[in-house]
Amino acid sequence: MIKITDLHKAFGSNVVLNGVDLHIKKASSMVIIGGSGTGKSVLLKCILGLIQPDSGTIIVNGVDTKSGDREAFLDQFGMLFQGGALFDSLPVWQNVAFRLLQGKHRLSKADAHDIAIEKLRRVGLKPDIAELFPAELSGGMQKRVGLARAIAAEPQIIFFDEPTTGLDPIMSGVINELVREIVEEMGATAMTITHDMSSVRAIADDVAMIHEGQVQWTGPIGKMDDSGDPYLDQFINARAEGPIEAVR
């Protein structure tokens, strides 16, 4: 589904991705873990074309991301941003239905509104918040609206950038469950970036750990605890001592 080969990206002298190779299978949920600044978000943005990689290839559904119709390419994706990235100037329902109101496959306002309400319900929000603006919502509600927006057009691939950051443990659990349920019922391919190990265990089919711009370890979630990889062990067990140097 997504095949990344020898991906490199540097910002000036700061090498962020240093030959990333990764394969994400169709209808699977891949979670990318790794320390802060190891290039997880850059990897995700390279796939979406928000950042141009220096070299390497990214193949999505058999098509190189450098070629083809960009709009059609992006139509395959939905994304939940870390901070929600909801549009302040639009009410909640227009945020959710944004894609449905633009582009070639534009729906009428009434139809888009109905779908937005349905998606809000799907993420556990009542229809009466549809006319509110994002600034009037709590952090957890904003995440849910972001999730509703990500799934509104029923994309084949969904990216989740730190879906539980800034949420309390109960709300984190709710979001984790929602992500898992939605990915399963839509049959979508999911790629999640997170530091939260409870999210990893709740969401992942497969895990990849990025360290120093490369994939340090990748495999199914079931093998993560017995990987034998000292870097992965240190990370998932949150140990200060180990091969990964913590900046103090």
Binding site: K45, G49, L50, F81, G83, F98, R99, Q102
Partner: protein, 262 residues
């Protein structure tokens, strides 16, 4: 040896600054070209354009109107004072009308709109940049240049001449009010002198300038916001850069256009 190194270092710095300046100009020109090219390529965001016409035009009316009113009044007093030195007080209506329409209306109107609009555009788009809303637009298959920049640039270019025309009228009326109530000009004579002296070129040259200033104001606001750095400080810097750059460019463009339309 030390002397040569010092000179070398100074020259290198000047070279880097010069290259940096040309790089910035190049980026701005490319940004402008992309923004303008989207005017002619669908899809068109009519609602965003109309919204910006209201934001930039309608909500700037009070500030432009009041600026023009007080400037017209002050100009009448100053010209009267200067004209009295060689018994030429009668020129007040003519100079107020020409001064306002050709120069002060577009320049002061442009500067006031730059202060109000350029900063607000830079802050809005800058905040969208740092909160990943611009990235979100892209992932939702929407071109941010087309959705955010082009409607603002087009709206400001179209609406500023309208604003300045209204400002010109109010400015001339400011001069009229001061002329007739404070300087004892005859109502009908003042209006007749104003009307007789004004030519089409006086008004049109000011409106051409206004369109150029509108383009500059929105373009610089969008550019500064679009390239805003991370965090609150980044947005603050974008806002500051927008108003300073737009104001300086308005003065520079004013001189160039005056030479061109002279």
């Amino acid at each position: 040896m030390m002397m040569i190194q010092a000179i070398d270092s100074i020259l290198a710095r000047i070279g880097r600054s010069t290259l940096g300046m040309f790089e910035s100009i190049g980026r701005l020109v490319i940004f402008a070209a992309i923004a303008v090219s989207h005017i002619f390529r669908p899809p068109f965001y009519y609602n965003a354009f109309l919204q910006q016409l209201i934001n930039i035009g309608f909500y700037s009316l009070p500030v432009v109107g009041l600026t023009a009113l007080f400037t017209g009044g002050a100009l009448a007093l100053q010209i009267y004072s200067g004209g009295a030195r060689f018994n030429a007080e009668a020129i007040v209506p003519s100079i107020v009308a020409i001064g306002i329409t050709r120069e002060l209306g577009p320049v002061l109107g442009g500067l006031m709109v730059a202060g109000r609009v350029s900063t607000s555009i830079a802050a809005e788009i800058g905040t969208m940049r740092v909160t990943e809303q611009i990235d979100a637009l892209t992932t939702l298959s929407t071109n941010p240049m087309k959705y955010l920049v082009t409607p603002r640039v087009l709206a400001a270019t179209v609406i500023l001449p309208v604003l300045v025309f209204i400002g010109d009228t109010i400015g001339v009326m400011g001069g009229y009010l001061v002329g007739t109530h404070r300087l004892d000009f005859n109502d009908a004579t003042y209006l007749k002198n104003t009307w007789d002296i004004l030519e089409f070129d006086d008004v049109s040259s000011g409106l051409i300038k206004a369109a150029a200033f509108g383009f500059i104001i929105a373009l610089i606001g969008c550019y500064s916001g679009y390239h805003s750095q991370r965090g609150a400080q980044g947005v603050g810097n974008a806002t500051k850069t927008a108003v300073v750059t737009a104001s300086v460019l308005i003065f520079a463009a004013n001189y160039l256009l005056t030479e061109l339309l002279f």
